[in-house]
């Protein structure tokens, strides 16, 4: 009941976005760190350490930025793997293209040291470059589907990685060190919102419905006048564009990229986020990326120990001895195990094929739920 009500308050979404943007800037520029805010907090009863140890904490900020980047990756991969029902493994490849393009631009071409405002141009260029490659990957999808296309996309990922490894001028296998740290919380927030907005717009357009119809029945889709090739081109382009954008942001956050960063493991991470959140759902992608990224960080031994430090020593000490200390390795078991359990007992993920009503255009909601205005001659037939 409460949830229904909340989802009906559509004005909340733009408000949340605005608040998020303000918050992102405030955190970035340390605006909370002044006497007035502290006094207000004391007055309201918020303990001071919450700000100190959460929002101001560089590590927490870093995790927040990873969450944003992973949301971009998940939402964009969901377009191909969820909405279109293909199985692309090339996402890390597109991310690599975006990361390298953006990093090379900020290092060698754009004078970002003087004009940091040029950074989004580099990210945009990374996205466009990735989109261009997305066009090429879309071509085999005209002929093959399913497992076979998955193998082709895997081959594409390997090609991208090998090509980068073999071009010495961009560092070869050593990668690019010393990239400027230009990715900030406001920029991540901005690109996350843009990616969600554009993918959502795409999904709720004739092209997006074309994508869904291809998943359902490609031949019937073609026979219902859908230009399936065009739709596939567009879906792959939008998907790879945002993978490239995420790559650009990622490179300027980590400040170091190498071909090894963008291997199949990276794609697998995003796949897990897509299927955990649920296919064909933007809300699901946001949840999946957030849950996975946060869980991944919580399962670091030191974080986990901090988190349960309130337990009495009699519980904590053996727990620490036998479990938490080994979590570094255990994490690599726990996360895949989580995926196995999700697939077995929750195959549609958190939101599979469902959507937050906030993301569905009002026109669509009304068209689907509006009852006939009056009985009339046509609306009379109810049920069979």
């Amino acid at each position: 009941m409460g949830w229904e009500w909340l989802m009906a308050q559509r004005w909340l979404l733009p408000v949340l976005v605005a608040v998020g943007l303000v918050l992102a800037f405030a955190i970035e520029y340390n605006l909370f760190n002044n006497e007035y805010v502290r006094e207000v907090m004391m007055y309201v009863g918020i303990p001071e350490y919450t700000l100190e140890y959460t929002l101001f904490n560089k590590y927490v900020q870093l995790v927040m930025m990873y969450v944003g980047i992973n949301i971009i990756l998940t939402v964009s991969l969901n377009l191909v793997n969820g909405y279109m029902g293909e199985f692309s493994l090339a996402h890390a490849g597109f991310m690599a293209v975006g990361a390298y393009t953006a990093a090379l631009l900020t290092q060698k071409v754009l004078p970002v040291a003087v004009y940091p405002g040029l950074f989004p141009l580099a990210v945009l260029a990374g996205g466009l470059m990735a989109a261009l490659l997305g066009l090429i990957v879309a071509v085999p999808s005209f002929k093959v589907r399913g497992d076979y296309l998955a193998i082709i996309t895997l081959a594409f990922l390997m090609i991208v990685k090998s090509v980068i490894e073999n071009i010495d001028t961009i560092g070869g296998p050593r990668g690019i060190p010393g990239i400027k740290k230009l990715t900030t919380l406001p920029w991540v927030f901005f690109w996350t919102v843009v990616s969600i907005w554009v993918v959502r717009n795409f999904v709720y357009s004739k092209y997006g419905r074309g994508v869904l119809s291809i998943r359902e029945d490609e031949i019937a889709s073609d026979l219902m006048s859908v230009n399936t090739r065009r739709v596939k081109f567009l879906a792959f382009m939008v998907s790879s564009f945002f993978a490239g954008v995420a790559g650009g942001l990622f490179a300027h956050l980590l400040q170091f990229i190498s071909p090894r960063v963008f291997d199949i493991i990276k794609t697998t991470d995003v796949l897990i986020m897509v299927y955990l959140g649920g296919i064909a759902s933007i809300g699901g992608s946001i949840l999946g990326a957030t849950v996975y990224t946060v869980l991944y960080e919580i399962l670091r031994p030191s974080n986990f120990a901090d988190l349960v430090s309130w337990l009495p020593a009699v519980v904590l000490d053996p727990l620490n001895e036998y479990f938490i200390r080994h979590l570094g390795v255990g994490r690599m078991v726990i996360m895949p195990l989580l995926l196995v359990l999700v697939m077995l007992y929750w195959p549609r993920g958190i939101m599979g094929l469902r959507e937050f009503r906030w993301f569905i255009p009002k026109r669509d909601l009304e068209a689907h739920h509006r009852q006939p205005a009056h009985g009339g001659s046509h609306g009379a037939a109810h049920g069979h």
Binding site: S205, K206, E216, D217, M224
Partner: protein, 256 residues
Amino acid sequence: MALLTATRVKHYFGGLCAVADFNLDLQPGELVGIIGPNGAGKTTVFNLITGVYRASEGSIRLRDTELVGKTPHQITALRVGRTFQNIRLFRDLSVLDNVRIAHYAQVRYSPLEALLHLGRYRREEQRIIENSRRLLGIFKLEHLAGEIAKNLPYGSQRRLEIARALAIDPELLLLDEPAAGMNPNEIDQLMEFIQWIRREFQLTILLIEHQMKLVMGICERIKVLDFGETLAEGPPEAIQNDPKVLEAYLGEGPVG
């Protein structure tokens, strides 16, 4: 001038001749039936007209446009709609979306307008929602607009498929066994319904059917196929008494 002309169309699957020398001359406004035993090549003819298969030989023309070599969506955009023998709805999508998808070729906005929801997007979306709901209303499905297609009862799925085909705004409608799985009472209703949509939407209809009651009842002309060959062609009365047709359907010699 004929709406659809097929001349000496042949189609082979490997070495198997599925359609041999198929000729058809369909005048605007006609209602023509194709009958024949299973495997006679009836559905293949539909697939050749709509571009699912490319005819091995021969020519299929819609007015002045050659259809052989065109892709299905190009042919569909020339206002050729069809339904399928085994219902092929977009099963996991809503009833409304099933009909909206078929508007693809008529919706006029660019990919950029779609990505930004700007320009013609709003007006066009509103237009096709209204048209889809109008079609659903005609088929008494409007109250089910938000329902998932696969949850509909069989009869409604059949109606939805025809509604979806009409969303293409066809001039030529191809119905592949519209009466499959229907009882005699439903078939009577379907016959009236086909006549009605034909008048209402000014359609030329080509239909494949096994239910003789329907074919003989509403078709003006019937074409009989067997093993890819055309056995007979003519008005229902002539077909009913054609010895070659009787032989193909009932076998040679006295029955019993």
